[in-house]
């Protein structure tokens, strides 16, 4: 594992960027892993009946993916103190075409006394940001 060096972190630096293809089977996999079996995440008829634009990705899946970008970058250099997000836009996942997410992790703030760094997580789908105030605070060893 490559490990980031705390001393070299600079506010505003992009530390990781990844693209993800969400497909229906990924939603089912997350449902099983998390225990969230709300049918709006795998049944078109139920999603439509409650007025949604389609089957949606779990907000917690999107947040979890964003956190993974930060923690895969962090590796063994530190541990997560805090992770938070608002769910501001739904992510419809088409049965055939899926949905493509882009996650960008940027250094939002560095506290050299506490040896913590705030990583801001921007998740975009279809040209728009889907999470609000998505950020993770890592404490470095």
């Amino acid at each position: 594992m490559s490990t980031p060096d705390f001393a070299s972190l600079t506010t505003g630096d992009i530390v990781a960027e990844r693209e993800f293809e969400l497909t229906r089977d990924r939603l089912v996999r997350y449902a099983g892993a998390s225990g969230d079996f709300n049918p709006i995440h795998y049944r078109d008829d139920i999603a439509a009946s409650v007025g949604l634009p389609g089957v949606l990705a779990h907000g917690m899946l999107t947040m979890g993916i964003a956190a993974s970008v930060a923690t895969d970058w962090l590796g063994v250099a530190g541990s997560v103190r805090d992770v938070q997000s608002r769910f501001t836009r739904p992510v419809p996942v088409d049965a055939v075409d899926g949905a493509r997410l882009t996650v960008t992790a940027t250094v939002g703030a560095v506290d050299t006394d506490a040896r913590t760094a705030r990583i801001d997580l921007k998740v975009t789908f279809d040209g728009a940001t889907v999470l609000g105030k998505a950020q993770l605070v890592a404490a470095f060893a």
Binding site: Y30, S34, G35, L61, A67, D72, V76, V80, D82
Partner: protein
């Protein structure tokens, strides 16, 4: 409408949840994380952990049992079909690792009414088998008004 009197209510602690190594791996795969810390017990031990480390949003699995208590509380008046997840936060004292036996206690920290909608802030404190704090999982649930309430 959500009963405003549930603000401050503390629910009974959940039954202990034993964190399994395969469950951690399954969750990590589901959130697209390939970090050896989540998958390889030897790598996790080399980094100073007792076993594989759970991804930070894994705590939702333990929190879920507490939110089920809220939804099952008829006195609270939270209609699951009208619930939208507004925000989520996890604040850790230490990471969750496989082998942890976790117990969660839900406190309703706020109930606000906004234009017929209700905003419920639910905070679940998760402790290990020794009773020491591991993580607090906090959610804001937006309970949309029934049609007759918005009129």
């Amino acid at each position: 409408m959500v009963n405003p009197e549930i603000q401050g209510r503390v629910y009974p602690s959940t039954a202990p949840y034993l964190v399994g190594r395969e469950k951690v791996r399954e969750f990590a795969r589901a959130v697209f994380s390939a970090s050896p810390l989540h998958h390889d017990a030897e790598a996790a031990r080399a980094a100073g952990f007792a076993d594989v480390v759970a991804p930070p949003t894994f705590a939702v699995v333990v929190q879920e049992a507490t939110l089920a208590q809220l939804l099952a509380d008829d006195d609270a008046g939270v209609d699951f079909s009208r619930v939208v997840h507004g925000d989520q936060r996890f604040t850790y004292t230490r990471p969750i690792v496989a082998g942890d036996e976790l117990t969660a206690t839900l406190t309703i920290t706020a109930v606000k009414q906004l234009g017929g909608h209700s905003m419920v802030t639910a905070s679940s404190s998760v402790v290990d088998a020794l009773g020491e704090h591991v993580v607090t999982a906090a959610s804001t649930l937006v309970v949309r008004a029934a049609e007759e309430e918005t009129a």
